[in-house]
């Protein structure tokens, strides 16, 4: 699946998007944050306070307990500040 990062999550990880293949036991958005955090310093820094991280699956906001199975695109970003 494709993962995208925005704003300071993108800056901390250092890349805007990548394709990942997490193991089968990574079932939810929250699991995925934990798994990504273990991939390196930038990831750990980006996800150091998981409760402020917002996530979207296929362009729709989701909660941390949302299942990721079947997702084509998952995005992580800080709280939004548009408008």
């Amino acid at each position: 699946m494709k993962v995208k990062y925005f704003a300071w999550v993108r800056e901390r990880i250092g890349i805007p998007e990548e394709t990942i293949e997490p193991p089968a036991e990574v079932r939810t958005v929250s699991d995925l944050i934990g798994w990504l955090s273990s991939r390196g310093e930038g990831y750990a820094y980006a996800f150091e306070t998981p409760k402020v991280i917002r996530a979207a699956i296929d362009h729709a906001h989701v909660r941390p307990d949302a299942a990721i199975m079947g997702a084509r695109e998952i995005a992580f970003f800080p709280p939004m500040t548009g408008g």
Partner: protein, 155 residues
């Protein structure tokens, strides 16, 4: 929902008068038009800023604004609805966002415009970075924006 919302995300500035005219010209069924323009201020939390840079999530931003526009059109009897959000570098005094809501009745136009702005602030995937004296910083979300969006939730 009989009204088709116009939604644009663009680097270019917009022209409020032209967008209002697009919802009213040649029609005699529009009684009220409310426009909201969000403008870049020269300070953020009391500190002067040189500019904002707006990042967005292409695809999701359009989808999210479209969902909210559809909800506004379902809740209020609108004759027209336009949402334009700029991205890229924006200097103080320049426009950031525009919502125009047209209706036969003033309260529908006011409520739809305010609802859309509240939802855009809290839910549309845009992020502002300020260029200040101490370098560039991402602007932090404010809790009262979430509260403003939540008050529209039907209980």
């Amino acid at each position: 929902m009989s009204v088709t919302a116009t939604i644009r995300i663009q680097e270019a500035d917009f022209d409020v008068a032209r967008e209002i005219a697009a919802l009213t010209k040649g029609r005699t069924d529009v009684g009220a038009v409310v426009s909201f323009s969000g403008v870049c201020r020269g300070d953020e939390n009391g500190e002067p800023i040189a500019a904002l840079t707006l990042e967005h999530y292409p695809g999701m931003a359009e989808a999210e604004i479209g969902r909210h526009a559809g909800e506004a059109a379902a809740r209020w009897p609108l004759t027209g609805l336009t949402v334009i959000h700029r991205v890229g570098r924006i200097a103080p005094g320049e426009n950031i966002v525009l919502v125009v809501a047209a209706s036969q009745h003033r309260q529908a136009a006011f409520h739809a415009a305010e609802f859309l702005m509240d939802y855009l602030k809290a839910n549309a995937p845009f992020w502002k970075r300020e260029e200040g004296r101490k370098g560039a910083n991402w602007i932090e979300a404010r809790d009262h924006d979430d509260a403003a969006a939540a008050r529209w939730t039907k209980s």
